[in-house]
């Protein structure tokens, strides 16, 4: 195990995959210049090892970053396209949803589209309306796509590697606040399987299901609740499609209570899908109806008091968990 930041861990993961397979390459804006030291440097130094044909600094052309990745994937390579933020990813929804997600199917299985598209999600202090969005729900709703949203450096690295090896197009959503977070990363290959959740904490009274940064907040909430004597199980889904239903169902069987916590806008978010699924499939095991927590349906405001009002905080998760426990 080595302690490293999320950004370092995923960069290592990418480099390892690029060493393993010469058909793996990355493209995006400012990749070779590593954002000039202004961002998380997930590509820092890779240009020196892999050169400009495999660490491709692109023009500001989101449609083509995504479209070229699709074309290069069907033509036999494994591109990792970086759109920087899910907000800018909105400029390339067409290429992702109409092409990447559908090509294998609509051409009757003639092609695979083995690409990874990185679209960072989440609020970063002061990010405001256009640099803060979490759009995972859109892509879960899109047939053909795999969606992952790792919450730790080890999962970030391990899931990136699995995503690169997968023959499906994978939307890889890293939380901007996580880039600088630290954690232990295994020294071995450290693959994290797609579709397998991780139980962060065992418990018997309530299951909190979450992902990405919110999994950590949920864990913090569980710790706080433990002081009150509540035993809360916390599941970090890590993969949102296909999500680990078996793990969630099993946990609900044990605890009888479910809270789904997400950072994204609550209305129409991925938590709604889990709620709906569990309502249909775990009715007998639930002692009280499932609950969810997510952001109010409004854009992300800038000023701190409003931004904090917007946020799904640990305290709010605790309050909602209490409500679920008491019901």
């Amino acid at each position: 195990m080595t302690e490293m930041t999320f950004a370092d861990a995923v960069r290592e993961g990418l480099a390892e995959e690029m060493r393993r397979d010469p058909l793996v390459w990355a493209l995006g804006e400012d990749l070779s210049t590593a954002h000039g030291g202004t961002s998380a440097n997930q590509y820092l130094g890779l240009i020196d090892e892999f050169g400009p044909k495999r660490i491709v600094n692109t023009p500001i052309s989101e449609n083509t970053i995504m479209g070229a990745a699709v074309g290069a994937a069907v033509a036999g390579t494994r591109p990792v396209a970086d759109l920087r933020m899910a907000d800018f990813g909105m400029c390339a929804v067409d290429e992702l949803v109409n092409q990447a997600a559908k090509i294998r199917y609509m051409f009757g299985g003639q092609a695979r589209v083995p690409l990874v598209v990185r679209q960072a999600i989440g609020m970063r202090k002061g990010g405001a309306a256009q640099h803060s969005q979490s759009t995972e729900a859109w892509y879960v709703h899109t047939p053909g796509l795999v969606v992952v949203a790792p919450g730790t450096p080890a999962d970030g690295r391990g899931l990136l590697k699995s995503a690169i090896r997968a023959d499906d197009p994978v939307v890889y959503m890293e939380h901007k606040d996580l880039w600088v977070s630290k954690g232990d990363v295994p020294d071995d290959e450290g693959l994290v399987p797609i579709g397998v959740a991780k139980t962060l904490r065992q418990g018997t009274d309530l299951t909190i299901v979450s992902w990405s940064k919110m999994a950590q907040l949920s864990n913090d909430a569980a710790e706080a609740l433990a002081k009150d004597g509540a035993s809360v199980e916390v599941i970090d889904l890590r993969t949102l499609w296909p999500w680990d239903k078996a793990a969630v169902y099993a946990s609900i069987k044990k605890t009888g209570r479910l809270l789904v916590a997400q950072e994204a806008v609550q209305v129409g978010g991925f938590a709604a899908e889990i709620m709906a699924d569990v309502t249909e499939n775990c009715a007998g095991d639930l002692k009280t109806h499932a609950r969810r927590i997510g952001a109010p349906r409004m854009p992300v405001p800038y000023a701190e008091p409003m931004e904090n009002e917007y946020r799904v905080t640990t305290e709010r998760v605790i309050a909602k968990a209490r409500e679920t426990l008491d019901a």
């Binding site: 058909l23 390459w25 044909k53 495999r54 491709v56 692109t58 023009p59 052309s61 449609n63 083509t64 995504m66 479209g67 070229a68 990745a69 699709v70 074309g71 290069a72 994937a73 069907v74 033509a75 036999g76 390579t77 591109p79 067409d94 290429e95 109409n98 092409q99 090509i103 294998r104 199917y105 609509m106 051409f107 009757g108 299985g109 003639q110 092609a111 047939p143 053909g144 796509l145 795999v146 997968a166 023959d167 499906d168 797609i194 579709g195 993969t239 499609w241 296909p242 699924d277």
Partner: protein
Amino acid sequence: MNQTTARENKPAHIFELYQTMCLIRAFEEKAEIAFDDGFINGSIHQYIGQEAVGTGVCQNLRASDYILSNHRGHGHSIAKGANPEAMMKELMGRVGGTSGAKGGSMHIADFSVGMLGANGVLADGLTMGVGAAQAITLKGEDNIVAVFVGDGTTNRGPFYEALNWAMVYELPILFVCENNTYASSTLTRSVTAGEGPVARAKAFGMPASDVDGNDIVAVDELAADLIARVRSGGGPHFLHARTYRVKGHISRDKLLYRRDGETSENWENEPLGRCAGWLAENGFDESELRTAHSAAYARIDAAVESAKAAPFPDAALAYVDVQDFGPPEPWTKEGGAS
């Protein structure tokens, strides 16, 4: 494709192209009848009148070269070597269709001959095309990519991104703009500023050529030259082919937006007749041409019959080939799906 023999005997080469063009024309005409008879769902965008462009370009490509097409993809596919019988099955949604009957007319693809797909969304073939070219350079192959784009589509932003991208990375790609005068029911020039696609391509530093797209001899010569240049590392090239969409935008289109006589005037200039004229002047007699023409129609007639006779795919195949991770759950008797 017999390019070497062909080059030695130009009329014989053009005759081969004529045969391909006849096959495309026959395919489109028969497809329209099948459509009207209710054998084809959705809509079909026919290539009639534009055969010389796809034929002249694609027959100069290797099977290992890639093409990316658009919504009007039947002609490109046939010219690139896709099987018309399988294509007709695809249009009719039958077993044996090129895309397993999952795609239909707008999603013909035949990866075995480098035909990476027609496309229902305008301009997406362009961005995917530069990516495919990038893959070629990464793999160190000497294949190239040709992308077809309609005149109307040159007003979509991704077109310019792709031109710039191709130049920046010096990719082996030929952009083929088929200017058939219309974008659906809109006269393209009514919504297009400046001198048009050639001037726009040149503004990106891309060498660009213009050709009479209804003249197969001209298209063939120019395409052969440009493809050789692109293949030998000359970087991207833009080919602007002037043509005309003699039929409606889709087969049901009544062409109400055209002035009287416009369509018939343009029929005079359609590429098959012109090619036949050239062949007649270059040693072929009428009967040879008629035979070629009839052979194409006979082949397509048979394709139609065999498509009609082919079974529809099993409903259960609908669930196949979605994705490895998290494939769909079939409907259950209780009506559940996910």
